[in-house]
Amino acid sequence: MSAPLSLGPARSVPLSAVNPVAQLTAVVVVTVVLLICGDLVTPLVVLAAELALLPAAGLTRPADVARRTWPLLLSALGITWVNVAFGSLEGAAAWQSGATWGVRVIALALPGVLLVASTDPVRLADALTLHWRVSTRFGYGALAALRLVPLLATEWESIRLARRARGVDAGLDPVAGARLLAGTAFTLLVGALRRATRLATAMDARGFDSGVARTNARGSVLRPRDGWFVAGAVAVCTVAVTASVLTGAWHPVFS
């Protein structure tokens, strides 16, 4: 199973000591600032801070980093290329605009990678339901459903093989290929719905969402360091914007 999909308990890393809601708050701060800025300096400073956090999220080996970030890097490259090739600017200006977009995309998405690498899904659900009053029905329902995602990959393979065994293949015909793909997806969907129904019944039988006030065995504690973490994110953004203004690069998107 590929790493981004499998939902097991996350490995404990230094960054795991920060409460998930504090991490999410920091993500929101960084996201807002990066969406406003339109220059290259701001996202570069933010990106430097994010890269400095990679070891704290347990991403020390280049292979691990690559495994978690390759789709992100690929899309950033794509966006840069589209801007250089099809943008209205020419020469160095085109390259600068392209690079700005690419760096922004990476700086925007990297906090998500850090969050996923350092946050246990159960702890996240605990923190969201306890601190942000997200409904337990949504929080733990989503958690239970996500747990089933890796099974879909196995199921897809066996449905595909079962179709071949029945004498159904597309050969080189693209139309037949598309129909076969749609049929396989439909069977997969039907199976997923049936399993989801069974899961809902089982959770129901265990008294989930039955109107009784739910308790939480693990709890989720907010400590001073969580506040410091958010303050750190604000500080990084302040430094980034200040640097940008001082170098004359500042150029918010709405101006």
């Binding site: 159960v122 747990r147 065994a165 399993r195 265990r206 308790t215 693990r218």
Partner: protein, 497 residues
């Protein structure tokens, strides 16, 4: 899911007022169950799923509930668990748990279903057992001791922090049982808890049940096809009749022995298919899923592939079925099988699907993966049509198979709406429709009731008489005894007969 459901007062909720100490889990009394002329009819159906059930279960009793598939066992169990929505059908008669309707007793009931994967919620073992306790509002300080007690009760020794995803089926189901036991239910309901497990896993779960109910602090109702396995564990056996009513079998009752078909052993015929040092390693895998294996399938003979989980039985079936190419060695088809192929020198894994279906038929563990149409009749004619038969011939084949398998009354039904046993028969029939010389079946008798089991075995025995080569991947010792000429035990290959 019901909102605003009022919990009854004899639940585990500890009083939370000032001055009250959190109460330790008091020994909860086992529940009493009473059915009086009870019946249920699903909203969209004309026939009653269950009717005229009169049954009283006393506190601490252990009851095994049996009956053919479709007799309404699962419906009855859901009703007991308070999981049947009133608007989902009509109710007749009366059903009470401790003198109240089951809906008001939901916190007294623990349930375990078939599929462990759709019952686990959390990523760690301990968190999952705690889930039910959290839902009933148990104060956090009391939860972990209750979790440890429940894990101990089922003999789960791998620790609270074990990842649930990495457990075997038997261990997962054991954990599900611990989760059901943790809130100390007065009534424990098990709905075919071992149907999806291999024999070792099933034994593990039954042992856990024995341990858990040893002190008779909970009333137990088990639904299962595998009557013999549960007999030593239960006090009473009650059989639901398909037409309605429930009969209790007297003490010392044993199920009638399985009907075995008349065998006509065949001398080994010509070799149709062989694995020659064939093994398989998943892409990126560090260990082979199947070690290099030699085995031959001959006309009129049946090979049973057995062995513990994880030795690659199903993988071998996929290689022989031409659905996967071996990563080492090869799968070789005999000349009787390759006749008429466009490229007879190619291995089965590279044949076109239509060519493959006419030569090697495969029956998967999950029948519904194989269904492609919306009608039983179309399902049977699809294979012949796909592999080059004319419409008239395909139609005739379908009619003959419908008749042979007793599926004619269901010819226009949607395959997905059939019962488990009917789906299984249909999936075998779809593989037979293209008249393949080789038939590969993965756990064909898994979770089937005795009637379906006997029908399947008879059907497969007929295929032997038709000079087909059969390969059965199975844990079921009875099926091996009934059909196999040769046995390949993976892990340690042994030739028999």
């Amino acid at each position: 899911m019901k909102k605003g459901h009022v919990p009854s007062h004899d639940t585990l909720r500890a009083p939370r007022g000032p001055g009250t100490r959190p109460v330790q889990h008091v020994a909860v009394a086992p529940a009493t169950v009473r059915f009086a002329g009870w019946g249920f009819r699903h909203a969209s159906r004309r026939a009653w799923a269950v009717r005229d059930v009169d049954l009283a279960v006393l506190p601490g009793e252990r009851v095994l509930l049996t009956g053919a598939s479709g007799a309404g066992k699962s419906t009855l169990l859901r009703a007991l668990g308070g999981l049947l929505e009133p608007e989902s059908g009509d109710v007749a008669g009366e059903l009470t748990v401790d003198g109240a309707v089951p809906d008001r007793r939901r916190q007294r009931v623990g349930m375990v279903f078939q599929d462990p994967d759709s019952q686990l919620v959390m990523t760690r073992a301990g968190d999952d057992v705690a889930f039910g306790l959290e839902n009933t509002g148990t104060p956090p300080p009391l939860i972990w001791s209750a979790v440890d007690t429940a894990l101990d009760a089922v003999g789960f020794t791998l620790g609270r922090d074990r990842a649930t995803a990495a457990l075997s089926g038997g261990q997962k189901q054991r954990l599900v049982l611990a989760g059901a036991l943790a809130p100390r239910p007065g009534l424990l309901l098990l709905d075919e808890p071992t149907a999806q497990l291999d024999p070792e896993g099933a034994a593990l779960v039954r042992a856990a049940v024995v341990r858990a109910v040893a002190d008779r602090s909970t009333t137990l109702v088990v639904v299962d096809h595998d009557v013999e396995a549960w007999l030593p564990l239960v006090d009473r056996v009650v059989e639901l009749r398909p037409g309605g009513g429930a009969v209790e079998h007297p003490a010392g009752w044993r199920p009638a022995p399985l009907r075995l078909p008349q065998r006509h052993p065949h001398p080994p015929g010509e070799q149709l298919l062989a694995a020659v040092g064939a093994g398989y390693t998943h892409r990126g895998g560090d260990r082979p899923a199947l070690a290099p294996t030699d085995v031959a399938l001959r006309a009129g003979r049946t090979l049973a592939v057995t062995g513990p989980n994880g030795t690659g039985k199903s993988t071998l079936a996929l290689l022989l079925a031409g659905l996967r190419a071996p990563t080492v060695g090869q799968v070789v088809a005999g000349s009787a099988l390759t006749a008429g192929l466009r490229h007879p020198d190619r291995p089965p894994a590279r044949w076109r699907a239509g060519e493959l279906a006419r030569r090697i038929g495969t029956v998967f563990q999950q029948p519904e993966h194989q269904f492609l149409t919306g009608r039983v009749r179309d399902e049977l004619s699809l294979g012949p049509l796909r592999s080059g038969a004319g419409a008239a011939e395909a139609h005739a084949t379908a009619e003959a198979l419908l008749d042979r398998l007793g599926l004619t009354p269901l010819a226009d039904a949607n395959p997905f709406t059939l019962s488990g046993g009917q789906q299984r028969r249909l999936s075998v029939a779809t593989a037979l429709a293209t008249r393949p010389r080789v038939l590969v079946l993965d756990e064909p008798t898994f979770g089937q009731d005795r009637k379906t089991w006997a029908e399947l075995v008879a059907l497969l025995a007929e295929q032997q008489d038709d000079e087909r080569a059969l390969c059965l991947v199975t844990h079921d010792a009875a099926v091996v005894a009934a059909l196999a000429d040769d046995v390949l035990t993976l892990g340690r290959p042994v030739g028999v007969g």
